[in-house]
C-alpha cells in the first residue's frame, strides 16, 4: 500500500477530488496526505471508498462533505460545514470547527478535538458527533437523530425544536432551546456514551458519569396553540 501526497499549492482542488473519486471501489492507494490546504473549500468532498485522507493544515467550507466510508483527518481547524451530510466513515478535526459542523449528517462519526462554533449538528439525521471542547449557539437546531457529545460547555438555545437526537453535555449549558429538556441518564445511556467517548478518542478525558443528557420534550410534535410562543 503506497501513500500518496497531494500538494494543493501545486495542484488544483479538482485534480485532488477527481483523483480521490476515481478510487471508488478500489483498495490500493488508500492512504493520502493533502498538504497546503490553506483554507480551501470542498477538500475531499464526496468520497465514496474506505480511503484514509490526512489534511495537513486548516480547511475552508465543507471539507469531507457527504463523506461515505472514508476517514478524513484534519491536522488543523475546519471551516464551516465540515462533514456536512456525512453518510458513514469518520472525520477527525484536531483543531476547532467553524459553524454548521456535521450539519444534516446521516451517519458516521465526527470528532472535533477543539471547540465547535455555532450550529454544530444542525438538522443532524443520525450522525454521531463528539466535541472535546465547547459548542456555540443554536447547536443541534432541529436535530432529528444521532448523538451529540460535548465535553465542554454549550452555547445558547441548545437543541431548539429538536426531534429524537440525543445530546450529552459535560459542562454548562448557557440555555436550552424551545422543547429541549434535561433527561434522566439511564443505564443504556451510560453504555452508549462510553462507546462514543472511546470512538471519539475522549475516553481518557471524561467519564460517562460526568455528563447530563438533553432531548426533546416532544411538545412541539403536533401543533398546539398553547405552545405558540415557542414557534
Amino acid at each position: 500500500m503506497s501513500k500518496q501526497t497531494f500538494d494543493l499549492a501545486a495542484q488544483s482542488l479538482r485534480e485532488l477530488n477527481s483523483a480521490l473519486h476515481a478510487l471508488n471501489g478500489q483498495t490500493n492507494q488508500t492512504a493520502w496526505d493533502v498538504v497546503n490546504p490553506k483554507g480551501s473549500h470542498a477538500i475531499a468532498a464526496g468520497l465514496d471508498a474506505p480511503l484514509d485522507v490526512t489534511v495537513h493544515g486548516s480547511t475552508g467550507y465543507y471539507c469531507a462533505g457527504m463523506n461515505k466510508h472514508a476517514t478524513v483527518r484534519i491536522k488543523g481547524s475546519a471551516g464551516p460545514g465540515v462533514a456536512q451530510n456525512m453518510m458513514s466513515g469518520a472525520v477527525i478535526v484536531d483543531g476547532d470547527a467553524s459553524q454548521y459542523a456535521g450539519a444534516t449528517g446521516r451517519g458516521g462519526l465526527l470528532v472535533i478535538k477543539g471547540n465547535a462554533s455555532s450550529r454544530c449538528g444542525i438538522s443532524m439525521k443520525g450522525i454521531d458527533i463528539v466535541v472535546h471542547g465547547n459548542i456555540g449557539h443554536m447547536s443541534a437546531f432541529m436535530a432529528q437523530s444521532g448523538n451529540l457529545v460535548v465535553l465542554g460547555d454549550a452555547g445558547d438555545a441548545l437543541g431548539d425544536s429538536l426531534y429524537e437526537a440525543r445530546m450529552f453535555v459535560r459542562g454548562k449549558v448557557k440555555s436550552l432551546g424551545a422543547d429541549c429538556i434535561e433527561k434522566e441518564m439511564r443505564p443504556e445511556h451510560y453504555d452508549l456514551l462510553e462507546d462514543l467517548l472511546r470512538r471519539g478518542e475522549a475516553d481518557a478525558k471524561a467519564k460517562p458519569e460526568e455528563f447530563r443528557r438533553y432531548g426533546s420534550a416532544r411538545k412541539l410534535y403536533n401543533f398546539n396553540i398553547d405552545n405558540a410562543d415557542a414557534y
Binding site: K38, G39, S40, G57, S58, T59, G60, Y61, S77, G79, P80, G95, D96, S98, Q99, N115, S117, S118, G136, H137, G155
Partner: protein, 298 residues
C-alpha cells in the same frame, strides 16, 4: 454579501507591511465579492495635520490645480497626493471643515471618502486585485486597516456603493450580510439630519453609528445599541483612530474568523484570508460570539 478582512498591528515592526498583508487578505476574498473592493488604512498621524481622502469620477480635471484652488479658498497651505481616482489632501487640522465646504462648490463632483488625521479610504468598482493595484495598496504602511470585497445584493455596483463607509472623523465601517430595516432607518436618520448618499444598506449602518456617537454614545455603546435597532444579518467591522471593533448580529450566520498573536489581531470572513499571515499556525484562532462587541485599541 461580501468578504471582510481586518488587521490590527500590535508589533510596530510589522507596520511597514500592513498594506502588503492586508492586500493579500483582500484578494483572497475575491470569490465572496467580485464587484468592488475597498480598503481603509490607518497610519500614525503627523502632528497637527489632517487628511481628507477624496474621489472623483473625472480625476484628470477635478484634481488638476485642486491644491492651488483650495489654498486660495482657505488661505492655508495644503498638499495633494493623487492616486488614480482618489486623492489625499493634507492640511492643518483646524481647516478640515473649511476645506470640505470649499470643496463642495470648487469641485461639485468630488466625494469625500474619509477625513481625520490617520485614515485614508480607497475604494472602486472592479476585482479586488485590480483595485489594489490601482491604488498601490500593498506599499502602504500603517497601524491597522480594514478591507472589503463586495457582492452587491440590492444596491448598485458603484464606487459610492463600495465599502468601507466613513462614519465620522477617522471612523469607518464594513459589513457582510443584508440589513432588513435600512429604509426606515435611513428616513429616521434624514429627519435627524444625518445624510446618506446611496441606497446601500451598509451606509445606513455607518450613518446610524455616526448619529449615535453624535448623540453622545461611545463607539462601543453605539455598536451595542445597533443590535437592538438594526434588523437583519450583519457582521460589522469598524475602524477607529486607535483600533478596530467587531460585532455580529444575534443570529450570527455570516462567517467571521479572528486570529491573534503577539504581533497582530486579524479578522477574516474565512480562514483562507488569514493563511499567509506570519505565525498564523500558532495564532489563537476563534469565531466572535453573536451580539458581542469586540474591540482592540492601541
Amino acid at each position: 454579501m461580501c468578504g471582510i478582512v481586518g488587521l490590527f498591528i500590535k508589533d510596530p515592526a510589522l507596520e511597514p507591511k500592513l498594506g502588503e498583508l492586508l492586500t493579500d487578505m483582500l484578494i483572497t476574498m475575491t470569490d465572496r465579492g467580485p464587484d468592488s473592493a475597498g480598503i481603509a488604512i490607518y497610519s500614525r498621524p503627523d502632528d497637527g495635520l489632517a487628511k481628507i481622502t477624496v474621489q472623483s469620477p473625472n480625476p484628470n480635471t477635478d484634481f488638476a490645480n485642486l491644491d492651488k484652488d483650495l489654498k486660495e479658498a482657505i488661505g492655508k497651505p495644503i498638499a495633494l497626493k493623487v492616486k488614480s481616482t482618489h486623492a489625499v489632501i493634507e492640511l492643518p487640522m483646524d481647516q478640515v471643515d473649511a476645506a470640505r465646504s470649499a470643496l463642495t462648490h470648487l469641485r461639485p463632483e468630488v466625494r469625500v471618502m474619509s477625513s481625520g488625521d490617520s485614515l485614508e479610504i480607497y475604494k472602486e468598482v472592479g476585482l479586488p486585485k485590480d483595485v489594489a493595484a490601482r491604488f498601490d495598496l500593498a506599499k502602504m504602511k500603517g497601524t491597522h486597516g480594514i478591507g472589503h470585497t463586495r457582492m452587491a445584493t440590492e444596491s448598485a455596483v458603484t464606487t459610492l456603493g463600495a465599502h468601507p463607509f466613513s462614519t465620522g472623523s477617522d471612523q469607518c465601517l464594513v459589513h457582510n450580510g443584508s440589513l432588513s430595516n435600512h429604509n426606515s432607518l435611513r428616513r429616521m436618520l434624514a429627519h435627524e439630519g444625518v445624510r446618506t448618499e446611496t441606497q446601500n444598506d451598509t451606509e445606513v449602518g455607518a450613518a446610524y453609528l455616526t448619529w449615535k456617537m453624535r448623540e453622545g454614545a461611545t463607539l462601543g455603546e453605539a455598536l451595542e445599541s445597533s443590535i437592538d435597532d438594526i434588523d437583519g444579518f450583519f457582521t460589522f467591522v469598524v475602524g477607529t483612530k486607535d483600533g478596530f471593533g467587531v460585532i455580529r448580529d444575534p443570529i450570527a450566520c455570516k462567517p467571521a474568523v479572528m486570529a491573534e498573536t503577539d504581533q497582530y489581531v486579524a479578522f477574516g470572513s474565512e480562514y483562507r484570508a488569514l493563511v499567509n499571515l506570519p505565525g498564523i499556525d500558532n495564532a489563537r484562532v476563534w469565531e466572535p460570539e453573536p451580539s458581542t462587541v469586540y474591540f482592540w485599541n492601541h
